[in-house]
């Protein structure tokens, strides 16, 4: 049983009762994106001159695959939050706003699953 008053429980949470969660996750993924992006650029640079066979071998190797999976996870999360902020800033009609936020979820999730599936397929060589 909580001894906190009803006011104490909701204070700082805002109307959606999630408080600064959104802001925090935006920063968390932003910080994660910096080293992951630098690593991603290095991976892409090292693969530019290689043929398909060599590329798949590198992409499927554990360290590269893990970095790519983390990159895709963090980036798709970050871009979904970012695009939601953009939608909420410019679209004020409820039905259109909800539709776009849904499409935003679908798009970001689809990109994540597509990239993760490709990396896992290369890793496990099925």
């Amino acid at each position: 049983m909580s001894l906190r008053t009803p006011l104490g429980r909701v204070r700082g949470s805002g109307a959606a009762h999630t408080g600064t969660d959104h802001f925090w996750r935006q920063r968390l993924t932003a910080v994660a994106n910096v080293p992951l992006t630098i690593a991603g650029i290095v991976i892409v640079l090292s693969l530019l001159t290689r043929n398909h066979a060599a590329t798949t071998q590198v992409l499927g190797s554990p360290p590269v695959a893990i970095i790519l999976l983390l990159f895709v996870l963090s980036v798709t999360y970050h871009m979904r939050i970012g695009m939601q902020v953009v939608i909420e800033d410019y679209v004020h009609e409820d039905r259109m706003k909800l539709t776009l936020i849904m499409l935003n979820w679908f798009y970001a999730t689809a990109i994540f699953v597509a990239c993760a599936f490709a990396v896992l397929k290369l890793s496990f060589g099925v």
Binding site: A30, N33, T37, L45, A53, M79, A118
Partner: protein
């Protein structure tokens, strides 16, 4: 002056709150919108990343198709823009993380940081593409 009390002139004489269209664009404002625009660009650009990975996972033919598209003039232009957007958004993000700590917000400092974002992203993009051509990639 009887004219001063007609509705039209009274409305014009009232002080107006300045809005976006009134201000001369300071560097920080331009970089703020650039951060958002590059973010939207990167959002769409993740399709290229997905295409690349799926092509690699699909086989040599699909990968050859991707390489042909990426190596074309249009492909290179898009990838060059994507590189700049990525680096600009990354440096802009680092600048925002610095500002989150209430550092670098004084008039001179914030303009310097905003300029550093732009020059840094352009310089890094050019350097990276020189490196790409130096190592013989995308030919």
């Amino acid at each position: 002056m009887a004219d001063a009390h007609t509705p039209a002139t009274r409305a014009a004489a009232r002080p107006l709150s300045p809005h976006l269209t009134i201000y001369r664009w300071p560097m920080t404002m331009a970089m703020s919108i650039a951060h958002r625009v590059t973010g939207i660009g990167l959002y769409i650009g993740t399709l290229i990343l997905a295409w690349w990975l799926i092509a690699a996972a699909s086989g040599p033919n699909a990968y050859a198709n991707f390489q042909a598209a990426a190596g074309s003039i249009l492909g290179r232009l898009i990838l060059f823009g994507y590189t700049w957007a990525l680096l600009h958004h990354m440096l802009g993000g680092i600048r925002h993380l610095i500002w989150d700590n209430i550092i670098g917000l004084e008039p001179g400092e914030r303009d310097w940081l905003a300029r550093a974002t732009l020059f840094g992203s352009v310089a890094l993009t050019v350097l990276l593409w020189i490196l790409v051509y130096f190592t013989g990639g995308l030919r």
